[in-house]
């Protein structure tokens, strides 16, 4: 059975060009870049070249503003905790309710240590309210950390503008963005439109390197203490011997992404849009999450009312299709996705959410196959569902009444709890 990989926001297939670039450093060129003897020059220079290539991708003139890390989670931890340590005079952090846990949980941890944290809500389209954003920033504000593109819905926040507004209110505020999902998919010019962003995190495995490499952009002059200490590497900002083969692989992956950024985005967007239209046309009671907001071209998050996501994933998997779900049963925490709940996806649909995410290795044939399989998967489960009238292929009247009652009360995904009050 042919495998169709449609979960590229989780991780991506490794590009053969990346493997080829890495291979010498996994075999004969193993030397520690910090060593003094002649052969180590090769690994040292490979790291220097890679850093230059990464900087070129972001149109940054001084490559030393990039430090290599093990993953985006490390980059996010370093940025947030590092700034909090470096600026003891200020306390407040502004972030959003829909961040990746690698940001959200770090902020909650700082909150437990006494930092006031504002979690900005989003509307039903997944968009931020600029007025609330402006009001959240105050004289105590230390750091704003807002993701560029959401991993679950693909919704893009206007990070360049948000950073500029923060700096205009107070130039001392540090602005961090988690760009893990957008790097390689959207153009990011850190000396142009994004010049007010101080810190930017991303990882390699979302753009076709192996897992285990990330990077953090730290603009010159940004106050940040290192998280990993115990070595002079990365100018003391991240101790630990450089992961030479992966660093070289990351640079190669960014070169590949830069070469086809616009063409690939157009092609992948066409694939995604075709799937979206076909599923909406064939399956009743579905909603596309984040559609009215700017979205990544590769992400489709669709909620099917009155079915549960895990059973969908299992059937898709049996048909050779890899996707993911925001359902509680797949999260390990027994709670459905915090992102979809923040968007106010109705409780009848939040468990039935499926995310398809594509990359340059997906084809028209992949889309054809998903269109062939997925509607059947949903109707199989609806036939079993106590909320569905299979004979008429519509929800039962009492299920619709339940949904309407909930929306009248402003209720969405139970349990009804405000995100702001969470400890």
């Amino acid at each position: 059975m042919r495998l169709i990989y449609a979960d590229n926001n989780a991780t991506t297939p490794i590009a053969p060009e990346v493997v080829e670039a890495m291979t010498p450093f996994l075999t004969h060129d193993f030397f520690n870049p910090s060593s003094m003897y002649e052969p180590a020059r090769k690994t040292h220079e490979a790291v220097v070249r890679a850093r230059k290539a990464v900087a070129d991708f972001f149109k940054v003139s001084d490559p030393r503003q990039f430090i290599f890390t093990s993953c985006a989670t490390e980059s996010n931890n370093t940025a947030i905790v590092g700034v909090a340590k470096a600026v003891p005079g200020r306390r407040q952090i502004v972030t959003t309710a829909v961040e990746h846990p690698a940001v959200l949980e770090v902020c909650k941890d700082l909150q437990r240590q006494g930092h006031p944290v504002t979690f900005l809500p989003v509307d039903r389209d997944g968009k931020l309210d600029l007025r609330q954003y402006i009001r959240a920033i105050g004289p105590e504000t230390l750091l704003v950390t807002i993701m560029h593109a959401n991993n679950e819905t693909g919704v893009i926040f206007p990070v360049a503008e948000l950073a500029r507004i923060a700096k205009e209110i107070d130039p001392a505020i540090v602005f961090h963005t988690d760009a893990t999902q957008s790097v390689g998919k959207l153009p990011i010019d850190l000396e142009g439109e994004f010049r007010h962003v101080d810190l930017l995190s991303f990882s390699g495995h979302k753009l076709h390197t192996p897992k285990g490499i990330g990077a953090l952009f730290v603009r010159r002059g940004t106050p940040m203490r290192p998280l990993l200490i115990g070595g002079h590497q990365e100018e003391g900002r991240r101790a630990g011997t450089e992961n030479v083969p992966y660093i070289v692989g990351l640079a190669k992956a960014l070169e590949l992404a830069a070469a086809n950024l616009d063409d690939e985005a157009t092609r992948i967007r066409a694939l995604r849009d075709r799937l979206e239209q076909a599923l909406e046309a064939t399956i009743p009671w579905v909603q596309v999450n984040g559609r009215r907001a700017p979205r990544l071209p590769n992400t489709l998050n669709i909620s099917c009312h009155f079915v549960e996501g895990e059973g969908m994933l299992y059937q898709l998997s049996a048909a050779g299709i890899c996707a993911s779900s925001g359902s509680a049963c797949t999260s390990g925490s027994l709670e459905p996705s915090h992102v979809l709940r923040a968007l106010g996806v109705p409780f009848t649909a939040v468990h039935g959410s499926i995310r398809f995410s594509f990359s340059r290795y997906n084809t028209e044939a992949d889309i054809d196959r998903i269109i062939e399989v997925f509607p059947q998967v949903v109707s199989n489960l609806r036939r079993i569902s106590p909320y569905w009238d299979a004979a008429n292929n519509t929800p039962r009247p009492e299920a619709i009444a339940m949904l309407e009652a909930a929306s009248r009360n402003g209720g969405t995904a139970a349990p009804a709890r405000s995100v702001d009050n969470r400890p």
Binding site: L130, R135, G311, I384, A413
Partner: protein, 320 residues
């Protein structure tokens, strides 16, 4: 994490979704017993119905001949429902005898379930109980006088311990005893309680307290450290402005209305005030000005300069 289900679980699920003959999918019309458990908000729910062969004189000798389910839930919830119906039909039980089927029987039938999925089997047993309660009402059987304990209405009473999943103290206390749950992760695996916000784990009257009450406080009890109240950081004292904030904002609005708007209107444009915060005025240009390449310049040179001149020289305009 990939699926860790047994072959049996996977097979039952696939048979059910493909509606294979012999599966128990569906709902009996005018059933003798009707029960529900769970809710869509929690992520799984089940409707369970059965039909009996009625005994002519003694309803307690009714025998269940047919059992059907409709389930909203994950792979294991659907497989558990299938398992429950199969066990009941194969056993030739009376409704009261069927109550002896426990979630452990369901787990055994499925060749095991992962710990975090045990609650799926519990749901089946609860739906069965509620259906038997319904049968007893219809047939005029007094379960209590027969010494049968039914808990169908229990959740409606009693204090809610786990607010995320709406689970009550009597329900959790009974489950802790019945299923011999000794730790909080075991409770969460079996009932979902404490699986979301975790606030009820060590709160007074929470899961740990229930465990202690049921099993006695052993030496392993976690000491709950009293919460230290943190003082919120003091509000920075605002420097007294010459005007009150209201008057200040009013003055800015008035200036924009009377001076700035007419100037922009010449070019077919307009300006919206998004917010005013201290000396910062957040504005958005509209109409012909909105798409203009020099919008930023217009705001700085024209709007900001006008406000500086006429209201306060500290004013800064921020484009939104």
């Amino acid at each position: 994490m990939a699926w860790e289900y047994s072959e049996k679980t996977k097979q039952l699920f696939m048979d059910a979704v493909h509606g294979k003959p012999g599966t128990h999918l569906g709902e009996i019309e005018n059933p003798d017993g009707f029960g529900e458990h769970g809710s869509i908000a929690c992520g799984d729910s089940m409707r369970f119905t059965f039909r009996v062969r009625r005994h002519p004189t003694d309803p307690t000798k009714d025998v269940i001949t047919e059992a059907r389910y409709l389930t909203f839930g994950c792979t294991s919830a659907i497989a558990s429902s299938e398992a429950l119906c199969t066990l009941i039909e194969q056993g030739g039980y009376t409704p009261i005898q069927a109550l002896s089927i426990t979630n452990e029987d369901i787990v055994k039938f499925l060749d095991g379930l992962p710990q975090q999925k045990i609650h799926c089997s519990v749901m089946g047993a609860e739906a069965l109980e509620s259906a038997v309660f319904n049968w007893a009402q219809k047939r005029g059987v007094d379960l209590e006088s027969l010494g049968v304990r039914i808990h169908a209405d229990e959740e409606k009473e009693g204090r809610i311990v786990c607010k995320c999943f709406g689970l009550s103290e009597p329900y959790l206390r009974r489950k802790i005893e019945e299923l011999n749950l000794r730790t909080i992760p075991e409770i969460t695996g079996a009932t979902k309680a404490g699986g979301a916000c975790m606030a009820c784990h060590h709160a007074p009257g929470g899961l740990q307290d229930l465990l202690n009450e049921v099993w006695g406080a052993s030496g392993t009890r976690l000491r709950v450290v009293p919460k230290v109240e943190r003082q919120p950081p003091p509000e920075p004292a605002p420097s007294p402005p010459a005007l009150s904030p209201y008057q200040y904002a009013k003055r800015i609005e008035k200036t924009i209305d009377e001076i700035v708007r007419p100037m922009l209107a010449h070019d077919g444009g307009d300006v919206e005030i998004i917010d005013i915060k201290d000396n910062l005025v957040f504005c958005r240009l509209e109409g012909a000005c909105a798409g203009c390449a020099s919008a930023g310049q217009t705001l700085k040179l024209m709007v900001e300069k006008t406000l500086k001149d006429l209201v306060d020289e500290r004013i800064r305009v921020v484009q939104v």
